[in-house]
């Protein structure tokens, strides 16, 4: 079946502009994650949804970052008043189950959105 998809794949924004990044998880996947990957670094956790509930937003770097998943499927990551330090690849991942103990759960990643803020 189709994997996780993200759009746009590339986004160039002027400093101060607002951007919205979309993630379509695998159908039926309960959990959805956003990660930020700066150049030369590994992905860093931003936020996590279980269905429509945002259960962990501890990784969001500032109040300019906002994520939502209103119907428990598609998610949008919005960045307001973009800054140059926001330039990164934004990865979305989804997984099937709610993690309970040591379940055999795998996070499936999308291709990412590469954001460049000028």
């Amino acid at each position: 079946g189709a994997g996780v998809s993200q759009s746009p794949r590339y986004k160039v924004a002027k400093r101060g502009q607002d951007v919205a990044l979309r993630c379509d998880p695998i159908s039926g996947h309960v959990s959805l994650f956003w990660y930020q990957q700066a150049l030369g670094q590994g992905p860093e956790f931003l936020t996590y949804f279980q269905n429509e509930a945002q259960l962990d937003k501890s990784g969001l770097p500032s109040d300019r970052f906002f994520a939502e998943r209103p119907e428990g499927s598609v998610s949008t990551l919005k960045i307001q008043r973009t800054q140059q330090e926001d330039s990164a690849v934004y990865l979305c991942a989804s997984s099937l189950v709610i993690r309970v103990g040591r379940t055999e759960e795998t996070q499936y990643f999308g291709p990412g959105t590469r954001l460049l803020v000028l």
Binding site: G3, G40, G42, P43, E44, F45, S95, E104
Partner: protein, 109 residues
């Protein structure tokens, strides 16, 4: 806070040589450890996880709690193993993955 360290940014080996990609972690609880791989122009994908105790594409990794390490090994490297490899940790309490900075593996012919 949890931390994952991959000390090598680049590892270059010849085809047929053994490979060991190092991963050390900092966490006092009972973590779950993973190796993710990203081939050229492809998305990040799970290679293996310590809890499964599997060998995937000839790769194995053993969790050493005493040394807090989860090194990835393969006895004979192949050219198609060339990729970026990330070690990642998940705590027993949460769902998020904590990644290392990654190691580029280049297998030369």
């Amino acid at each position: 806070a949890q931390r994952v360290t991959q000390p090598e940014k680049l590892l270059s080996v010849f085809k047929g040589a053994p490979v060991e990609l190092k991963c050390n972690y900092s966490y006092s609880g009972s973590p779950e450890l993973f190796w993710y791989v990203q081939y050229s122009r492809q998305r990040l994908q799970l290679l293996l996880r310590h809890i499964s105790r599997e060998s995937i594409k000839g790769f194995t990794a053993d969790l050493n709690k005493g040394e807090t390490s989860f090194h990835l090994k393969k006895p004979f490297a192949q050219e198609e193993d060339s990729a970026m490899y990330y070690c990642a940790l998940m705590t027993e309490y949460g769902n998020k993955l904590v990644f290392g900075a990654g190691t580029i593996l280049r297998v030369k012919s």
